[in-house]
Symmetry: D2
Subunit: 366 residues, 4 copies
């Protein structure tokens, strides 16, 4: 049985482009997919860099004008892996041309852009690379919550800390400029935490936020914190920072509910900690579940129990699930609508931190 | 060389009274002190309970009227271990009678009370049992900060979580009533976190807070969160809750500075985690320092390296240091002034959570 | 109701004497006991040191001739806290004089001594300070095993590592001399591991051991390892060393059985790790049980849930249980017989390491 | 610049064949290699299974007769991924035909076989997939040892535990039959621990071992333990078991030396724990180094700091280094000689466990 060819054009050749390339290369090794995924063309500004990336990852062609890609009839899907401020134009053009659209997070550099993009994307299959949704431990957390194992929710807390901002040698990329990134730690890190919170704990109704910039002259936030009220009655605390010295990529969340607690840390991404408050009192304790079993999410896709996954596997799983959803014409999440919801929260964060009080997530003062 | 006798009267016979009794009994075993500490009289409302406590801990007398104690000339020091709303009257009377005054935290059930108490206490030696200041790991953290090992401070974050509020069988004591406790999780738990923050990271200039009560009909907060700006330019995140299901007594703080990170968790109270960002890059890592060495705070007072301390030892150390300060006529912290500073922050927390925005810690809108 | 007076004489004034003194002082604060424990006389060689200890811990008298103590009719119990080679003479004399005998571990510096001591002790109440048997986590482990929660046992493994031998400044006490200590790491550290193994997993039938001395000229073992077969069909691995650089007092054991695993580490003495292999596969994980609940061993004696114990509390619990057993005329463990069983294993370890093969624990070649 | 084509034939299509396939597919994405690695033919007994594997991983052909592969002139390298008892015939034939030979561990099912294989392999480039040698943390441990950061070595200890043997549903593969596997836990698990020990701590001179089979009727060991003396004067303890209930794939090693300690656990494969005993006493502690930095082994090959690797990456690194060594005509380890050294230790383990005493590793009684 021959597979349908799916020709990919990827725009961008930085670090995240490498991660996407790997996902395109690996997806059919671990997921049953009706598509033959073809790395057709890689597009960017620097031809030398593009040719190196093409050679290494097997992209058939290089291109320096993304608009040419949009008009090519042989391209089925456009993958956007460029700085945030460029997402919007490409995504809208690609969607309008009927291409399948894949976009790095955060969706956009402003709420207005995100709204336009989400509207444009309605006409086509679309997704956003909120990769952490497909860490097996995160999916398993979602299952436990859905199954009522945590009970009525009380608390959600999330941290996302790295130390990039404190390193003058690293803190000079597009990620540190408002014109290209839109936001700093908020867009880069906090957007991940928000997406996971919305996925795991439902919508946020109102929040109170603060942003802070430690580096003189920098025009994006180095750190952003907020307190939140969720629609389900629980309350949340969020903190993201590029000045979390001692933390390279510390992405954690924790939930306390009437029946138990869940804790996750990306540093130990192959495990989920679960406290079951329904056990007999003397046996209650926080257990570390190695989420690599056959019964766990993606347990049959990758290696075998006790054989750990790394950073790239959730990207592969995201792509595997997305291709499946296209073939089956089923909904896929996180899509542009989900990413727009994240953007609404980020927008409220900006509003609140500048106004200094509580803001409802739809934008009105709470 | 005979020692000066120091006759103690303790008011209160609940759990914390037991902890104080232990400190009075143990202090001379571990600290050189010029005083012979005598457990003279234990005072409370329930004579049967008092007699049991006296018999067990060796209090010479029992008394049911605290005012009689104040007027006794043979009593040198009054220790207050009763519900928060009763602190003020006793402390003021004892101070005015020239007694040494020891008081459980939080100092008072309102800022106004605390101010009056602090003023009254100026005439006598006084202290507040903010016991966690004398966990060896905490004192050692303070030393590392003072020595510049953490550098310019960026972030402070603290959690204090237990699950008492979620247990209807436990959540019916005076701690859950505004009239007796003043506050809920804020007074009980958050006051500890605030005191440690002020001790380790200096004063808080402004904050934005939220409180939440999960239990219908309860008139104190079950959970309180706040974001803060410190005078040293760092920012802070605080959360205290009695609905932290899965956590029995989880009291943590963490600091990120330009040169490193410190992390502490009461669950592992004999260790301090230190990340030294000045090490060569390939050797940087979070190290767990067992703070039980001879070179560590109180390392010569208790057992020997690798032999861990428990919950009660910081109380003993607090008392040991306090007695030393009295004998040497040296300042002691935490005293009533320090506890008043905590109360100012708690007051700002209350103001902010009811007004919904930023509040400066002296009480004016920021 | 007045209590029976129990006059104690303690022989020894070193570190462990301090620990015992504390237990005598504290036992009635945490345990209901029919005795009024009196610290009557502390005995040793150095009068100045004795007087300091007496003053600090409240021993009424000092004495430099232990034999005078044995003949005093007002002494009810003799506590032995001197170097190993001195245990035997004192214990036998005290037992023959009808005194209650308490003895530090290891019981003796040779099997022959231990046998004589155990025989002599049959006529009186006796105990050995194998303190780790009364760490709450250890008692709880025993309960879980007894309740069948671990199933048929497969593996037992124990480590006891410190770094004292590697420090020339510390490694010159009696503990490093055969004439006074009998053995090195084996008597000091391994004896603890063996006692816990016998307590938790039953008797050892045969073993193969090695000893090693790293320091030139030292006449005791710096490290001892052995492999063992237990009567219950499980197999064991033991290692004790004073050259475990990086470990101050690392005392761990672990059991794997058909239904689960237990792990304990003294560095985290307030928790027991339990893996329940009878849970659904996707929920299996190693859980850390904070063994400080009311339902846990000694949970009602000391503080409250989540309030941790330290090094000295198991000594207090040992004494509390021993006094109870005397009053109730019930058996107590670890007694001299139990300590003799440990000594038999140590003897087999010595035999095996010198002969180089398997040895049955009763001393015959396996 | 076009690359030299390297046509691979892989024999075997089980789990480890999947892991090798992945390495062949991924190596050029992460390593600069002068070869164009071609997955030419996959060989095994079951054509249906082969075709599925070929389709998934892109093997151009399938073949059921391995001997045909040996004679094909277009095959440059033969990769052996079949049960242990089949390694020898294939490896020798491939080596004699001048093929590059890659072989799964353990090298053989007996020492005699291994010796013949190592001799035959002298004529060609060869390697053995001792994958754990290329876990970044392991390579970094080797660097620290080589740089003298651990000092004179005292102790080595290793565990490799899984729970496969306790599961009747899983314990019926070739791995549980002497005729196909040669050994049980010893060949499967302990061989890894031995290889790492020889790599990190040098040769073992003598050992005393025990093996045990828990399952009635099984003819291989379920658990194997041994004590060892290393040529460098340190002593070692090893334990491998398939009855380590609670452990899915727990592979740990630990070294104590005069200057510090190293600890590794595969469950946290992206970190190495280091205790530096040359630090000031009050700052000493076990630090967890996230071995994902640019300065760490393979830090520039894969993702970026703080972005963790998984189970398969060390296989990719092994292949990347091996290809580099072929191109540069440099020595590569682990090769057949290294694997033969492991086999000599395994042979001594078998001898000792049947004879019951110490055995020198060359096979004579010690």
């Amino acid at each position: 049985m021959s597979k349908t060819r799916l020709n990919i054009a990827m725009i961008g050749s930085g670090f995240i482009g490498k991660v996407h390339s790997n996902a395109f290369r690996q997806v059919s090794h671990f997921f049953d997919t009706p598509y033959e995924v073809r790395c057709q063309v890689i597009c960017g500004r620097d031809r030398v860099k593009l040719e190196m990336a093409a050679s290494r990852w097997g992209w058939s062609e290089v291109e320096t004008d993304w608009q040419k890609i949009i008009t090519r009839s042989d391209i089925d899907a456009v993958d956007i892996a460029v700085p945030n401020s460029l997402h919007s134009a490409i995504a809208i053009a690609a969607a309008e041309a009927g291409k399948i659209v894949l976009c790095e997070k955060p969706l956009a550099s402003s709420l207005a852009e995100a709204e336009t993009m989400a509207k444009a994307a309605q006409r086509t299959a679309n997704m956003v690379w909120f990769n952490f949704r497909r860490v097996p431990a995160v999916v398993f957390a979602k299952q436990l919550i859905r199954d009522g194992r945590i009970g009525k929710m009380f608390h959600y807390r999330a941290l996302y800390l790295n130390q990039s901002g404190n390193d003058p040698g690293k803190a000079n990329t597009w990620r540190y400029k408002r014109s290209e990134a839109g936001m700093g730690a908020a867009g880069d890190l906090l957007s991940h935490s928000i997406d996971l919170a919305l996925y795991l704990n439902g919508s946020i109704t109102e929040l109170s936020a603060m942003t802070h910039t430690f580096a003189p002259g920098r025009d994006v936030d180095d750190a952003t914190l907020f307190m939140a009220r969720f629609a389900n009655g629980s309350i949340g605390a969020f903190e993201a920072s590029r000045y979390g010295v001692g933390c390279q990529n510390r992405n954690t969340f924790e939930l306390n509910g009437s029946k138990g607690m869940l804790s996750f840390s990306l540093d130990e991404m192959n495990q989920l900690d679960f406290f079951d408050a329904t056990e007999p009192a003397n046996l209650q304790g926080r257990r570390s579940i190695a989420v690599t079993g056959l019964e766990h999410p993606y347990g049959k896709n990758f290696w075998k129990p006790g054989h750990v996954l790394g950073y790239e596997h959730p990207f592969i799983a995201t792509l595997g699930d997305f291709l499946h959803s296209i073939a089956q014409q089923e909904p896929f999440h996180a899509n542009f609508e989900d990413a727009l919801a994240v953007q609404r929260v980020l927008h409220a964060v900006e509003q609140s931190s500048s106004a200094g009080g509580w803001v409802s997530v739809d934008g009105n003062s709470a």
